[in-house]
């Protein structure tokens, strides 16, 4: 939770690094090549440059979005913006799509996102930190490393299919930029810095350039160059490693002091352009669940690499850039650097990785970062150099990719990229690791002191850092430190707490079974298990005969293959929801219709089709949530239910409302659309209509991405019960489900029966006509048919072959369901009760009113009894008879305490009574 504290305590300040590099007159925007993020009152800053991989604040704190900066601009309104190329985490890809991978996704895997329509402009204030991203060729296995901070790119994901990412694809922009930059770099170290951002495929290199300390931060960017050069040299093979290395060193040293960024910015802009061109309006989908273990693997990898590249580390450390003294010590450090560069040449990828790991450290804005920045920076520069050696400047970008060196290059590149993404915590971890290693290693001895120095300095700064850093990083740090002293592999261990947290986070977006998943999020009220009705010992018997089969099919609960007779409505709703989901906008729709006309069924069918479509990648994925006004005890429970289904959280209605409000008004860069079905809308009415207001207001928010479908019975509900501001928000998208006509009902039954021959044609027609005339309620129709099959079964002479359901059966079923029992009830009543009813009629006639007191009726009753030759009942008996009739609701009575004074009314028409009594 420390991260929250830090977050709250300090205000982050976002500043452009340097002057605008270019100005777009049309858009009135200024471009910058770097962004400095600093914390109030603290000296350190993180610098973000183009091409760097960054973490972006998302809905899920544990899994911030990953993206690559392609452009940093300031709009005319002084808003700081960044254009980014998104990467999708495993968790952001819908689970069903993951199958397309044909393998288990690597937990740390991310996908180059090529999907449509994802806002690629973000507010710089949402940038959390830098991160390290590595590219891995399609065929190559994931490095068996257990580090959490490095992410791997192997494939690209365009919301439909995964395609192999060629290094070019990812790197095009970067490479071009790098190539362009390279020439300049070599001659003038001061210019090296620009080369960094373009750093090959993986702009992460850029990310590395985020030193915290302000003064050094500037310089830090350039530092990488030497490394780059080294590497490039190594790659070139023929060239003296030593020379290159030293050159790199010099370059680095110089670059650290140089302030010129012009060339860099140029490179950047070039790259930016290419990036932008490549990804116009990319939209990312939001999928919160994210890989749990991914980080571990990479950790391991990093550790391994560290062994080999201790020297480098040390070097970096020395450079920690914050102090000049460190810089001074660099000369000593050169040797290791050289070594690495040699290594890079010989074992290509391996040697590169360590470098990368340093870079990843650089992602952190701590002093160490600065050191690493240099590393990071160096890689690109090296590359650039190599490129420059092999090709002419102009063509560099393409050639670079095609160059023979490439095969080896990809790995380093990716790793470099990843390294860029590394979070500050990593730095510290590695440093500690370094310590360990140093103690064993021989070469490293000389560097040991410096390493220690570094460490101490880093410790000092840690406190400040912690405040500065993103919560995310901060937490990682603490985690890391705990285990820092453990073996390199052990470093993975600290992740566990985090993964736990992640799992929790992943619970938040369960689409289908939110309730189950909700459990872990509410530890305070532990539910031991989800409730369920115990299962039966013997399986339910399956229908045997045709009639039973028909009955099963006719049950309202059975889901039909299709919904006949609602094609138009289906299409309308489908189009509505689809368009909203596609556009990522929100909207409301009001659906009305009498019960049993298929409103809910149609909406469900629409959702099913849409989900199929989204599975097939025709439309972006979306959440579907259903609430029912009748299934909650209070309108405000709607918030609770929505929140629970959306995120699995439990909250009080007020809190839930607040959370939802935040969720729907907050701009999540990669948010999935939500489709909310509100059944029985009228039940959500409250006096102030807050619930309805909110439900209809959220879709109008810019970032809401909420589609609300509301269902109620009355067509004019908005006009009748909603106040203006609510009705206005509901809008005019209305749809009315007409009651089914008899033909439609017939078609529905036919389609349900689906060739099971159980009914005579006429019988079906009778049912549908009857129901259509009465209500047009499909449920009724199905129920009658079901009852008719039962009657048919019972009445058939031969139980083995009951035959078809005919008119007579249907008639009987109709009779049972629709005939009122009043007449029969009167006929079955006792003599006294019948006489009482008759005397009620007589009294009514006498009075000319439809109401009489019991006393008045009693007089008639007693007279009538004498006429009939019966002994007149006592008042108590007559009263009892009256009460019995009242209990059946043949009579309507006043409360019985009124005794003889209570008034009596008939609940049946007088004709019915007469008819019933006469027939006897």
């Amino acid at each position: 939770m420390a991260r929250y504290l830090t977050r709250n305590r300090l205000r982050r300040i976002y500043k452009w690094g340097g002057l605008p590099v270019s100005h777009d007159r049309k858009l009135k925007t200024d471009e910058y090549d770097s962004l400095r993020i600093s914390l109030e009152d603290l000296p350190r800053t993180t610098v973000i440059t183009n091409g760097q991989y960054i973490l972006i604040e998302g809905v899920d704190d544990d899994h911030p979005y990953v993206a690559k900066v392609t452009k940093l601009i300031e709009s005319d309104k002084k808003k700081k913006k960044a254009l980014v190329q998104w990467f999708a985490r495993v968790g952001e890809v819908p689970p069903n799509k993951l199958k397309l991978l044909g393998r288990e996704p690597h937990p740390q895997e991310i996908f180059y996102y090529e999907g449509p329509t994802c806002e690629d402009e973000i507010d710089v204030e949402s940038i959390l930190d830098t991160v390290q991203v590595k590219f891995i060729p399609a065929g190559a296995p994931f490095p068996d490393v257990d580090r959490q901070e490095v992410l791997y790119v192997k494939l690209s994901w365009n919301t439909k299919v995964f395609t192999v990412v060629t290094p070019e694809q990812i790197e095009t922009a970067a490479a071009t930029a790098a190539a362009a930059a390279a020439p300049r770099l070599v001659p003038t170290p001061s210019r090296l810095r620009p080369a960094l951002p373009p750093s090959p495929p993986c702009s992460p290199a850029l990310a590395a350039a985020t030193p915290r300390s302000r003064a050094p931060s500037r310089r830090a960017l350039p530092t990488p160059d030497p490394m780059v050069m080294n590497r490039a040299a190594a790659a070139a093979g023929g060239h003296g490693v030593r020379g290159t290395a030293s050159a790199g060193k010099m370059a680095e040293a110089e670059s650290m002091h140089s302030a010129s960024k012009i060339s860099a910015s140029k490179c950047l802009s070039g790259k930016r352009r290419s990036c932008v061109a490549r990804t116009p309006g990319v939209r990312k989908k939001l999928e919160l669940s994210s890989p749990r273990k991914s980080l571990m693997d990479e950790d391991e990898g990093l550790c391994q690499l560290l062994d080999e590249d201790l020297d480098l580390d040390v070097l970096m450390v020395q450079r920690s850039a914050t102090t000049l003294t460190h810089l001074m010590s660099q000369p000593g450090g050169l040797t290791p650097a050289r070594k690495t560069s040699r290594a890079a040449g010989s074992w290509g990828s391996q040697s590169m990785k360590p470098v990368l790991s340093y870079m990843s450290l650089g992602g952190d804005s701590s002093p160490e970062t600065a050191l690493q920045d240099s590393d990071r920076a160096s890689t690109p520069s090296r590359r650039a150099e190599r490129a420059s050696k092999e090709h002419s400047l102009g063509v560099l970008a393409e050639e670079n990719e095609n160059s023979p060196m490439e095969p080896a290059a990809p790995t380093p590149r990716t790793s470099r990229r990843k390294s860029a993404q590394l979070v500050s915590s990593r730095i510290r971890k590695q440093l500690s690791l370094l310590d360990d290693v140093h103690s064993d290693g021989d070469d490293s001895d000389e560097f040991l002191p410096s390493a220690k120095e570094l460490r101490s300095s880093s410790d000092e700064e840690e406190e400040q850092q912690e405040e500065e850093e993103e919560e995310f990083c901060a937490r990682l740090d603490s985690d890391d430190e705990i285990v820092a002293k453990k073996s390199k592999r052990g470093a993975a261990a600290p992740r566990t707490p985090r993964s736990a947290r992640k799992s929790q986070a992943s619970m938040r977006t369960p689409r289908k079974t939110p309730v189950k998943k909700a459990t872990p999020t509410t530890p305070r009220t532990p539910r031991h298990a989800t409730p369920s009705i115990p299962s039966r010992s013997l399986p339910a018997r399956q229908p045997g005969s045709a009639l039973e089969e028909a009955r099963a099919r006719l049950h309202v609960s059975s889901v039909p293959e299709s919904l006949p007779c609602r094609e138009q409505e289906f299409q309308d709703i489908y189009n509505f929801v689809e368009s909203k989901v596609m556009d990522g906008t929100g909207g409301c729709m009001y659906i009305s219709g009498v019960p049993g006309t298929g409103k809910t069924a149609t909406v469900h069918e629409v959702i099913r089709s849409l989900q199929r479509a989204s599975d097939a990648d025709d439309i972006p994925a979306f959440n579907f949530i259903e609430i029912n006004g009748m299934k909650m005890t209070d309108p405000h429970q709607a918030y609770v239910q929505i929140l629970q289904k959306l995120t699995g959280q439990k909250a009080t209605p007020d809190h839930a409302a607040a959370l939802l409000e935040k969720r729907f008004s907050h701009a999540g860069p990669k948010k999935e659309s939500t489709v909310l079905l509100v059944d029985e809308l009228d039940l959500l009415w409250t006096r102030k209509q807050n619930v309805m207001y909110n439900l209809f207001d959220w879709p109008t928010r810019r970032h809401g991405r909420l589609v609300v479908l509301t269902i109620a019975n009355t067509m004019d509900l908005p006009e009748r019960i909603m106040i203006n501001r609510v009705a206005s928000r509901l809008g005019l998208t209305r749809m009315s489900f007409q009651p089914y006509s008899f033909k439609q009902l017939q078609q529905i039954i036919m389609s349900r029966l689906n060739k099971v021959k159980a009914f005579e044609e006429d019988a079906l027609q009778l049912v549908s006509r009857k129901v259509a005339a009465l209500s047009g309620d499909a449920r009724r129709c199905l129920d009658i048919c079901r009852r008719a099959t039962e009657i048919c079964e019972h009445t058939s002479l031969d139980p083995g072959a009951p035959g078809l359901v005919g008119m007579s059966h249907v008639m009987q079923a109709l009779d049972e369901m629709f005939s009122s029992a009043y007449v029969t009830a009167i006929r079955c009543a006792s003599i006294q009760e019948q006489l009482f009813l008759r005397s009620v009629l007589m009294e009514f006639r006498r009075l000319g009113l439809e109401e009489a007191t019991f006393q008045q009726v009693l007089v008639q009753h007693q007279a009538l009894c004498r006429v009939e030759g019966l002994q007149p009942p006592s008042v108590s008996e007559a009263l009892a008879a009256c009460q019995r009739l009242g209990a059946c609701r043949l009579l309507l009575l006043e409360p019985s305490r009124l005794g003889v004074l209570q008034r009596v009314r008939l609940n049946v028409s007088q004709d019915d009574v007469l008819y019933a009594l006469k027939a006897e």
Partner: protein, 438 residues
């Protein structure tokens, strides 16, 4: 067995009587289920089939059993359930939830009761008595998770179904019926009610979800069937009753009883009055109570007495206990009722009427002072022989008691009947009561 019988045969008469009493009382108090309810075969079959399909096939259903009070709705259901549970595997499969509209007066209580009866509390621990909303969500979730083929079917029996329709929003009914209409846990919702218009109570969306199956239980038996039923109710089983001779004697006397003309007349009158079996049972019970060692069989006189006891008018009995003054006041009120055609009156008017009577005709009664009359009047009010027109309004207005408007709660016939039976009623009072005008 025969040996035991021989040994039992000389069983003392007192023993036999107590055996008879126990056996028949159990039967009359509905503690014993009959083999099969009479005259409702088709309904029995319908309900049986329906519940069996739920239990065996996992088909969800809803049904209402409608019939006037005392026609055997609950009996029918209990018989069907007993029969159903006798079948193996149904017994272990079917879960039952019994609710009564008189007990579960709102959905909150009903939900708790359902949770309890389904034994779902152990799943939730202390959550059972959480908030209403939680309970509802919890139950719905439980039901939703089931499916037709694997979950145990749940039988919901809602006694006094009409009262559930008065719950707020009919939430419980909506949800139960919705479950019965969707592919969730198989449920059978059986409602018992005596209201013929129960469907009109349901909200339209609730109504649409109800399957509209109604089983009407209407007493359609004729008088001869009724007689048989009476005989069957009192009949002693030949085979199981310990004392064969006593049993034989009893059954013979029972047959004689039913053929007795006066008994038949009593039963006919009862039958004409109501076909409710409960009231018949009351009648039989009253006569059964007279059976003793000295009177080992039910005699026609017993039945006549019991009938008289039961059909006696309650108000008339009350009047028997009144003092002459109170009776006079009642008569005065009767006259006021006649004069003013049922308009309410107050104590002062009654007192004036009474005084007029005293002045004109009475020679046997003293003149009572107003306070005494008022006391008597208040007593009548306590007995609810008279009733304030609007008690609340009168209290609010602090009207003086003698001017508070009241109404007479008696019919003239009751007054006359009471006077007939009143011991030592002065003749002039009787004449006054009978006279057309005070």
């Amino acid at each position: 067995m025969s040996k035991r019988k021989l040994k039992d045969s000389p069983m003392p008469i007192g023993e036999c009587i107590s055996q008879v009493q126990t056996l028949l009382r159990e039967r009359l108090c509905h503690q014993q289920l009959p083999q099969r309810p009479e005259g409702v075969d088709s309904q029995h079959k319908h309900l049986m089939e329906l519940l069996k399909r739920t239990a065996v096939h996992g088909e969800s259903n809803s049904v209402l059993i409608i019939g006037p009070r005392g026609t055997g709705k609950t009996l029918l259901l209990r018989c069907v359930l007993a029969e159903l549970l006798a079948e193996e595997d149904v017994d272990k499969t079917l879960l039952q939830v019994h609710l009564n509209g008189l007990l579960q007066t709102d959905d909150r209580i009903a939900l708790k009761e359902i949770t309890r009866q389904l034994s779902l509390e152990n799943v939730v621990g202390d959550q059972v008595f959480g908030s209403f909303a939680e309970n509802l969500a919890f139950l719905l979730e439980a039901l939703k998770k089931g499916d037709r083929s694997s979950s145990r079917p749940v039988l919901f029996i809602l006694d006094e179904f009409d009262l559930f329709a008065h719950h707020k929003n009919q939430t419980l009914l909506y949800n139960l019926l919705d479950v019965s209409q969707s592919a969730q846990t198989p449920v059978a919702v059986v409602g018992l009610t005596c209201r013929l218009d129960v469907l009109e109570l349901l909200e339209k969306r609730v109504k649409s979800r109800f399957s509209h199956r109604q089983i009407h239980l209407l007493p359609s038996l004729s008088f001869s069937q009724y007689l048989q039923a009476v005989q069957a109710q009192l009949h002693l089983p030949d085979t199981t009753f310990p004392d064969t001779t006593f049993c034989y004697d009893w059954n013979a006397s029972l047959k004689a009883l039913c053929e007795d003309k006066s008994v038949e007349a009593v039963l006919l009158r009862h039958f004409n009055s109501t076909k409710d079996f409960r009231s018949l049972h009351r009648l039989l019970m009253a006569s059964l109570c007279r059976v003793s060692v000295n009177n080992p069989t039910i005699k026609p006189a017993d039945l006549l007495d019991a009938s008289r006891l039961l059909s006696a008018d309650a108000m008339t009995n009350v009047l028997h206990g009144l003092s002459i003054l109170e009776l006079c006041l009642v008569i005065a009120m009767k006259h006021l009722n006649d004069i003013y055609d049922g308009e309410p009156f107050n104590l002062q008017m009654v007192y004036n009427e009474f005084k007029r009577f005293l002045q004109r005709k009475s020679n046997s009664l003293y003149n009572f002072e107003l306070p005494v009359v008022m006391k008597a009047f208040e007593h009548l009010q306590q007995l609810e022989v008279v009733r304030p027109v609007d008690a609340a309004a009168a209290v609010a207005a602090r009207a003086q008691r003698e001017y508070q408007l009241v109404r007479l709660m008696l019919d003239h016939s009751q007054i006359m009947e009471a006077l007939q039976k009143y011991p030592q009623c002065p003749t002039d009072v009787k004449q006054w009561a009978a006279s057309a005008f005070g």
